[in-house]
């Protein structure tokens, strides 16, 4: 019995560590929320223990004949008044704590770095807004943010309701079609924080992950500068042949690769797909092999997704995978 409960506790608690846990916070909003969670659980635990002890005492003592009715009446009244007062104070305290937490995880100032995240079945489209001198760019399933800085996320949806949830950095916020929600995202230390769609959105809801890469401001600037650039012509002959095949096949009708004629908008922007950690919204690491497997048969790896199986010869498949991998 003891072994079983220890196993159960460790199994449940193992879900609370690692890079996707609200109890392992690395961003200001998540830290505020962890404090709130721990505070409420601690207070409620104390109250529960007190109530259980009093109940136990009452059961053990059993009923007694009242010696002095007037005295016990006064004692009873005092106890009830004290219990009601304690309840009011505790509930008001928890409400106020919750209010302050909500205020602290609210929307950042308007001059913060703004990233638009658009949920789609079943991937995340990410837009970095440009300024006068610097053009904006688009990526997918991966957000890079500088550490120690408030980031303003604008959350939108192209089809159904999704929910953005990176437990280590912030709370949940829905992406609702036809409106734009706001959210504060902030990381205190560098790392890769995994997030997950938290609102059931269809067949592949479970394969709709997003990676938040928090890095030092200098690293972030370097990354953003490289993402702003167009795709370069690959030097490798296989990859160059793959570029030609990509543009000749239906791939280019749905995907954009800036710097080429491919300008489709219904699929993820592939301009720098080789630089991303994962493909197909966290389905697999980005390697030439996983890219080839995905392109060869997307409906087996992620049934129901909107990428069709495009008939390719094995040479074309190899070349296109090499090209994808070269798009750093």
């Amino acid at each position: 019995m003891r072994v079983a409960s220890a196993l159960l506790i460790s199994a449940v608690a193992s879900g609370c560590s690692g890079n996707q846990s609200a109890l392992d916070p690395h961003g200001a909003p998540a830290i505020h929320m962890e404090h709130l969670i721990i505070g409420i659980v601690a207070i409620c635990t104390v109250i529960w223990v007190v109530v259980m002890v009093m109940l136990g005492v009452a059961l053990l003592r059993g009923p007694r004949a009242a010696a002095d009715t007037a005295k016990s009446e006064a004692w009873l009244a005092m106890t009830v008044v004290a219990a009601v007062a304690a309840t009011v104070i505790i509930i008001a305290g928890l409400t106020i704590a919750s209010f302050y937490t909500t205020r602290d995880i609210g929307v950042p100032k308007s001059d913060a770095l703004t990233i638009t995240v658009r949920g789609q079945q079943w991937w995340w489209q990410v837009f970095y807004a440009g300024a006068d001198a610097t053009p904006g760019f688009q990526t997918a399933n991966e957000i890079h943010i500088p550490i120690g800085t408030d980031v303003h996320l604008r959350l939108e949806s192209a089809d159904v309701i999704h929910s953005f949830w990176v437990p280590s950095l912030a709370g949940k916020q829905d992406l609702v079609p036809g409106r734009s929600n706001s959210m504060l995202l902030r990381a205190e230390k560098p790392g890769v924080y995994r997030g997950q769609c938290a609102e059931f959105c269809g067949l592949q809801h479970s394969h709709m992950a997003i990676m938040v890469v928090a890095e030092a401001p200098a690293d972030y600037d370097r990354w953003a500068a490289s993402q702003r650039g167009d795709a370069t012509m690959p030097a490798d002959p296989d990859a160059a042949a793959g570029r030609g095949a990509f543009l000749a096949k239906p791939c280019a009708a749905c995907h954009t690769i800036r710097g080429t004629a491919a300008n489709g908008t219904t699929g993820p922007d592939l301009t720098h797909i080789g630089s991303r950690l994962t493909i197909a919204a966290g389905l697999a690491e980005t390697t030439r092999g996983s890219l080839a497997a995905w392109i060869a048969d997307p409906q087996t790896l992620k049934p129901g997704n909107n990428m069709p199986m495009v008939p390719l010869t094995s040479a074309e498949l190899q070349n296109i995978s090499a090209y994808m991998e070269s798009l750093k």
């Binding site: 089809d159 079609p177 000749a248 096949k249 239906p250 280019a252 009708a253 749905c254 219904t266 048969d297 409906q299 087996t300 049934p303 129901g304 909107n306 069709p308 199986m309 495009v310 008939p311």
Partner: protein, 206 residues
């Protein structure tokens, strides 16, 4: 006498709860069965079957023809399968068909809802129109869509222009409806016979 009456009442009233419970259980059972019998989704067609979709035969004049045998073996999935119709509806938006054909009532391109099919209402004609293009501005989508997507889109186009409403329907519009929904047979409601002799090549009626 009174006691006798009460007894009779009870005897008559008693079977009711059992009957109600039975009917409720039956209803739940039927509901569960219908849910279980829902149309399965064919998310991945085998590559040889997909390749076969390209092998339909056309009449010499480019109008009508015969789908491949395998299409019938699959149960005409692109005409009768709600999932494929929904995907076709998605592709109608994704490939900007509405730029020329509007919500199906035409614009720069011909209408699908006036009852007149320039090349006939057969799937093969619609697939050929999308795949290979047609004169007067219809582009070929051969290099932009897979053949399976073309069949899905053709099934959707045929559904909105169908002379009889289909049982299978695509998903609902996210935006405002500008014409009767697909499963109501919009082409029957919006059928336009046109002035006499407008379509002499096609006879007096579609």
């Amino acid at each position: 006498m009174g006691a006798q009456n009460r007894l009779t009442e009870r005897t008559i009233a008693n079977p009711a709860p059992a009957f109600v419970a039975g009917a409720l259980l039956l209803l739940i059972g039927v509901g569960a069965l219908l849910g279980w019998l829902r149309q399965p989704r064919e998310l991945r067609l085998d590559p040889p079957a997909v390749a076969d979709l390209d092998q339909f035969r056309r009449m010499p004049n480019g109008i009508s023809g015969t789908p491949p045998e395998s299409y019938f073996a699959l149960g005409k999935p692109y005409e009768t399968d709600a999932y494929n119709l929904s995907q076709g509806k998605r592709l109608y938006t994704w490939f900007d068909c509405a730029t020329c054909h509007g919500d199906g009532r035409g614009g720069a391109g011909p209408s699908f809802l006036d009852g007149w099919w320039l090349y006939g209402p057969e799937m093969v004609s619609i697939v050929a129109s999308i795949r290979d293009g047609r004169p007067h501005g219809m582009p070929a989508f051969r290099s932009r869509m897979t053949i399976e997507q073309i069949w899905q889109l053709a099934g959707y186009v045929q559904t909105i222009g169908s002379y009889t409403p289909k049982i299978a329907a695509p998903s609902r519009n996210d935006n405002e409806h500008t014409r009767p929904a697909e499963n109501r047979g919009p082409a029957i409601i919006l059928f336009d016979e046109g002035p006499l002799g407008a379509h002499p090549d096609q006879g007096p009626s579609p």
